[in-house]
Amino acid sequence: MSEFLSLAGQNLLSPIILSFALGLMASLARSDLNVPEAVAKGMSIYLLFAIGFKGGASVASYGLDARLGFSLLAGVILSALLPIIAFGLLKAMTGMNRLDAAAVAAHYGSISIVTFVAATSVLEGRGIPSEGYMVAVAAAMEAPAILSALWLISRSDGDSGKGMDSALMREIMLNGSIVLLVGAFAIGWITGEEGLKEIESFIVNPFKGVLCLFLLDMGLVAGRGLRGGGGVLTRGVLAFGVLMPLVGSLIGLGAGMLLGLSPGGVVLMMVLSASASYIAVPAAMRVALPEANPSLYLTLSLGVTFPFNLTIGIPLYVGIAMAVTGG
């Protein structure tokens, strides 16, 4: 416990978290500080490329065990399953209508890659190794949750095709961040250790600093979301935003143990399950379920669950995984 507290304290006082806090406070105080859209997009391309590449290069170095296939499969199942649990919790805990509940649920099956990146950076800081292919698992978990949520809605409406068409399907599967993550993973895998050495001083050394500025922007965006959409956060909704990542992380813990992942891998599986999407899924929901309220799912995902995972969740998941795996 005391170890968890010290870890949490250490985490809370890291440049990464403090940058997020700075952004959050600046926008809550209505400062005009803002990061241009193009710069934020540029940083996210950098982070996805770097994290994918490093994952691939690590697979090239340490070889591939049979667990990759099972881990991908587990990711797909988790992503499809978690929305159903989330939907149930939402119906029980909040007064949300079915449409909004399904839209929110989709976010919690999918993942937040920045939460994942922050977790890998905490693991690295503590010297805990993890499977390089977890970035591939992250990519695999992006989309299934969307299908799952649309199925939840169509089931009750008796209209099986509702919202989903082939164009949307292609957009989801080929969405930029999946393609970049998987592509960079493949490049890292193919070029291996040597490729990594060539571009190390671009994708490894400055990584944490870029992450700070990116989280500064995330804080700004989360703060603006809370200012505009904070009204939707009834007590029940807020409680869901904190409970669901905990539930997700425990299910991720079970999956990670079952798969026999390393302690670091278990942590990442917990983080993926606990985190909620705020890029791919919101865009898909605007197309497929335009009547659902975007304030609800964006505020929950970005304004509640993301900061929760970043500050309390990650050290907690590390603590639990270490205790359970004895790592």
């Binding site: 803002n34 990061v35 241009p36 859209e37 934020a40 996210s44 164009a167 922007d217 995330m218 700004l220 965006v221 603006r224 979301g225 505009g228 959409g229 705020y278 890029i279 791919a280 919101p282 865009a283 929901m285 605007r286 197309v287 335009p290 009547e291 975007p294 304030s295 964006l298 970005l302």
Partner: protein, 103 residues
Amino acid sequence: MQTYKAKRVEITIENVMESRLTDALRGAGVTGYSVLPVLGGSGRSGAWSRSGQVSRAQGMVQVVCIIKPERLDALLDAAFEVVERHIGVVSVVDCDVLRAERF
């Protein structure tokens, strides 16, 4: 300078719907359009701003389409089908254009 009567249609629509709208416009026989960025705005669904996003879920664009008057109805029908369930605004203005053969 010789000018010709035409209609200028401006459709403000979510980013994510842009390609669906332009596909529909082409389907309705529209031969040209331009897409302009929108930085932010406000409406019944609240206020938004391009810098307040990490996702492209919320942004909007403005699709501008100049057409011959006789094509207006087909265009509006096509556009309406796309925007129907979505937020967004459709407006039409009378205009004069040079080089009518282009529309």
